[in-house]
């Protein structure tokens, strides 16, 4: 009988705590006092943020607006999120690209400077350690952002491989951007509002592109990306300028861009069909099973050369045994771990995320089913509290994405 974002945050934290127990004995379940705070913490509280523990941080789950209203407002006007709990990282050195390509599935070499892509860090078995947006700033500088809940294990993983790489004479080093904060500005008003605060022409900057520029008088890393399916930006700003920038964005939007918490962020990403690491993607799930084969660069499919490549390339060839798909269903909203059955009542998989879509006003969910049951339109039953309800496999995104593309 559990569900919802709070439990989700807890279960991720707990799962990570268990996973890391062997290597990091000191990690324990965080009490409120141990929670980390972003530099915007007081700003959230003053603005009515309801703070909850999330991946070791105290973060706003919502403000005064309901999750329903916040979700809809993001798509109609805009949302400002504090995502400073996520970990920004720069890798530098002339061998940065070959180094990173050992760990991720993306064709990093082929990225044009100033562009980025979604990628996955894999383990030896081809499972996902984390998903991440990687940006090639220059040929010897990569900027990436990893999940808060995965920070420790990601950094340990990168560090271990970096030590070995350097011992063989490779030139790569890292800088963790703990001096910076991260804001996500999403929705149709994101670009017009941000344009008030910078001289750079944002109409020339497309989805996936990256720039270092002045915003509201502070040197920022700007990526045209997000986690809502809307057009928008993630802004890495020096922490001492973060509160001023948040205030300026809200003010320039004349109150239309609203502070938005993790609750609506979860609804938005689910409507956009995007994975939440820890729910929809885990250590034992490969990028192919997760429907992210598109993120494996063409050259990389030929050459491999990343952890777990043998498993992953074989799956591409033979097809994965399970696949992540979307569902629309009747009855109560499915939540993670709800069983999925075929029309004969046989178990074919499990829901990994689900909820009521504020924009579509119906239940949406994603989960994994055995291949063969994955075609859009396939009727399924979803079991919730012992009762089975009708559902159908549905193409994702549930709500059309509005990325700014040329």
């Amino acid at each position: 009988m559990r569900g919802g974002l709070w439990q989700l945050g807890q279960s991720i934290t707990r799962r990570l705590a268990q996973a890391d127990k062997k290597t990091i004995g000191r990690r324990c379940f965080a009490s409120e006092a141990d929670l980390k705070k972003t530099v915007l913490y007081d700003f959230h509280v003053v603005n009515g943020g309801k703070m909850v523990p999330f991946a070791g941080w105290s973060m706003p789950i919502q403000y005064k607006d309901s999750i329903m209203d916040s979700t809809i407002n993001c798509r109609e006007n805009g949302s400002l999120f504090d995502v400073s709990h996520m970990c920004g990282l720069s890798l530098k050195g002339k061998d940065t690209i070959p180094f990173l390509e050992q760990l991720v599935i993306a064709d990093v070499a082929a990225l044009a400077p100033g562009t980025g892509t979604l990628t996955v860090f894999t383990n030896e078995k081809g499972g996902a350690i984390d998903d991440s947006v990687v940006t090639k700033v220059t040929n010897d500088h990569i900027y990436l952002v990893v999940n808060a809940g995965c920070r420790d294990k990601d950094l340990a993983h990168i560090e271990e491989h970096m030590k070995f790489f350097k011992s063989k004479g490779g030139d790569v080093s890292w800088h963790i951007h703990d001096e910076r904060s991260l804001l996500a500005l999403q929705g149709p008003l994101a670009a017009p509002v941000l344009q008030y605060l910078t001289k750079d022409n944002l109409s020339q900057m497309y989805f996936g592109e990256f720039r270092i520029l002045d915003i509201n008088g502070a040197p920022c890393f700007l990526t045209r990306t997000g986690y809502t399916g809307e057009d928008g930006f993630e802004i890495s700003v020096p922490s001492e300028n973060a509160v001023d920038l948040a205030k300026a964005i809200l003010e320039k939007s004349e109150g239309k861009v609203r502070l938005t918490g993790l609750g609506a962020r979860d609804s938005l990403r689910l409507e956009a069909g995007l994975c939440l690491y820890g729910n929809d993607m885990e250590q034992h799930i490969t990028p192919v099973e997760a429907g992210l084969t598109w993120a494996i660069g063409k050259r990389r499919r030929g050459e491999g050369g990343f952890l777990g490549a043998e498993v992953i390339l074989k799956q591409i060839e033979e097809g994965p045994k399970i696949r992540r798909v979307g569902f629309i269903s009747s009855g109560p909203p499915p939540r993670s771990h709800s069983e999925i059955q075929n029309s004969n009542g046989q178990s074919i998989g499990e829901i990994t995320s689900g909820g009521f879509s504020p924009c579509l006003k119906k239940n949406i969910a994603m989960g994994y089913v055995k291949s063969g049951n994955h075609k859009a339109g396939t009727n399924v039953k979803i079991v919730i509290r012992g009762k089975s309800y009708d559902g159908a496999v549905t193409k994702m995104p549930f709500v059309p994405t509005k990325y700014y593309k040329p």
Binding site: M1, L5, Y41, S58, I67, P333
Partner: protein, 165 residues
């Protein structure tokens, strides 16, 4: 169990979590808390359900305070008439955009009627928690259980404590 789960965890999570916030924010919460209605004449469970005894029947629902914390209710999962419920155990669930919460019965007995309007219009739980948003009518098998429940004054105090905590 789960409205309690909600009370002890999700709602805990919804609470402002540091001394900084507490000093800044408890006045605003007190004000909003005062607008959360607690009706005289009803009995309340610590897991945020109410019971209204009417002759040989009793009506059960969730409180204004509960619906306010859950946010928009999108689905109400209720049992069928004729089934029995027991004091303190779950008989259904409320789904909000935020989370799933079980609903506990404050009294034992047989369900004689279920509010079928909630199937089509679950939002009645938000707009009218004590009237149109009622959930089940029960024929109590052990009316003395009512005495173990809270009155309006006691329940208001519980809500206040939960907010400040």
């Amino acid at each position: 169990m789960a409205l309690r789960m909600w009370a002890s965890s999700t709602a805990n999570a919804l609470k402002v979590s540091s001394t900084v916030s507490r000093t800044n924010f408890s006045p605003a919460f007190s004000i909003s808390r005062c607008f959360s209605t607690v009706l005289e004449g009803l009995k309340y469970a610590s897991s945020h359900e109410w019971v209204k005894p009417e002759g040989s029947m009793a009506t059960v629902g969730i409180t204004d305070h509960a619906q306010d914390h859950l946010g928009e209710v999108v689905f109400v999962d209720l049992p069928e008439a004729g089934t029995s419920v027991s004091h303190g155990s779950s008989f259904g669930a409320v789904e909000s955009v935020k989370a799933t919460s079980d609903i506990n019965s404050p009294i034992s007995g047989e369900i004689v009627e279920v509010n079928t309007k909630l199937t089509e219009t679950p939002g009645l739980v938000n707009s009218s928690p004590y009237e149109d948003g009622w959930m089940i009518k029960v024929k109590p098998s052990n009316p003395s259980e009512l005495e173990s429940l809270m009155g309006a004054k006691e329940y208001t105090k519980l809500c206040d404590e939960e907010e400040v905590h």
